[in-house]
Assembly symmetry: C2
Homo-oligomer: 210 residues x 2
């Protein structure tokens, strides 16, 4: 028994392996998965490319480890937020905060998910990506539909359409959001929620707003 006694054998992943996943994630996020070579990953980790294959059997395994871990955690976070919310509008607010929060805690994973989803999801090995995306959609849409049914949210735009606009605007912001800048993720979330919930038009705006 050489593993940490607090960790079961089955779940044990070496610290070195996790470290390398993190290093690879940064490169995948910055340069794209296809444009990152295993030699670059090895360089960044301070070892030679052949040595990477002691930890992973392929480059695909690295990105798979990264995304499985991230998607598992964000799903758990969404469920926790929904379970603890007072009402649908509160749940929506907290979901938006949770999603923007991931820009700070899991920036690289979010970027990889955004940029490589379409490529990876084509392979059977990455079918879990689609499962996870569909499960998230189910959770968010359920919140939106409950809010619409209760009259707290407008119901003249389909919940699925609202969800798509929301999701896209939030995740793509990983391309411009700077974690070291003046804005905290919660600040960006509040700015977004202001426009989303109250709208951009003022009461005095003339002309159609619908």
């Amino acid at each position: 028994m050489t593993t940490d006694p607090l960790t079961s054998d089955a779940e044990f992943v070496s610290a070195r392996r996790s470290e390398i996943v993190g290093i690879a994630a940064e490169l995948f996020a910055a340069k794209g998965y296809a444009n990152t070579t295993v030699r670059e990953i090895a360089d960044a980790a301070g070892i030679l490319s052949g040595s990477l294959y002691h930890h992973f059997d392929s480059k695909e395994s690295m990105v798979e480890a990264l995304l499985r871990d991230f998607l598992e955690r964000i799903d758990a976070r969404y469920r926790s937020v929904i379970a603890n919310a007072d009402d649908p509008v509160d749940a929506l607010r907290e979901l938006v905060h949770a999603a923007f929060g991931a820009l700070a805690t899991d920036r690289a994973a979010v970027a990889v998910m955004l940029n490589e989803y379409n490529l990876l999801v084509q392979y059977p090995r990455f079918a879990f990506l689609q499962d996870s995306v569909e499960e998230s959609e189910r959770l968010w849409v359920e919140v939106l539909e409950t809010g619409m049914r209760e009259g707290a949210l407008r119901d003249d735009v389909p919940a699925a359409a609202v969800y798509r606009f929301l999701r896209d605007a939030i995740w793509v912001s990983v391309r411009w959001y700077r974690p070291d800048g003046p804005q905290r993720p919660d600040d960006v979330a509040e700015e977004y929620l202001t426009v989303l919930l109250s709208g951009l038009a003022t009461p005095t705006t003339t002309g159609r707003t619908r």
Copy 2:
């Protein structure tokens, strides 16, 4: 003089070349630029890979031709829309319609721009991408700021922040919008404008909306 008499020598591009750019664009959009081989492009065009180099000196030249053409046209469209608008809210509405319209007319170019911008913009050859993106931002932000100054749009969220949310939600929709589906681009634009201008909350919504 073998060129079309209606086209100046300087602007002449062979029909075959344009055709190949279109074929390459579909592949770049579907599989990603890095994952598309010149052999696949040649196959799709019905020729052998070596023959492609009669029309282009490199794979980069193909994507450059695609994006230069698209960005030039979308910029012209934005300027025309702004010049003909009655007021800033009208201009904003028409800009949103123009952008969603490009999903139908230039789907592949939009997808390539969205997916490959970060990669390509690193190379001096593609500096025009950043120029074009910055010019678009200038045009849109100017419209938003005018609307805020005139009191037609809320001014408690910075125009640049609103623009980023707008831009992201619109362009990323190329990932789920189906031109052959029931929704026309103008329908999607109206759905988006409804939420954007009037907000998701109903007047009866309790709790903070700001």
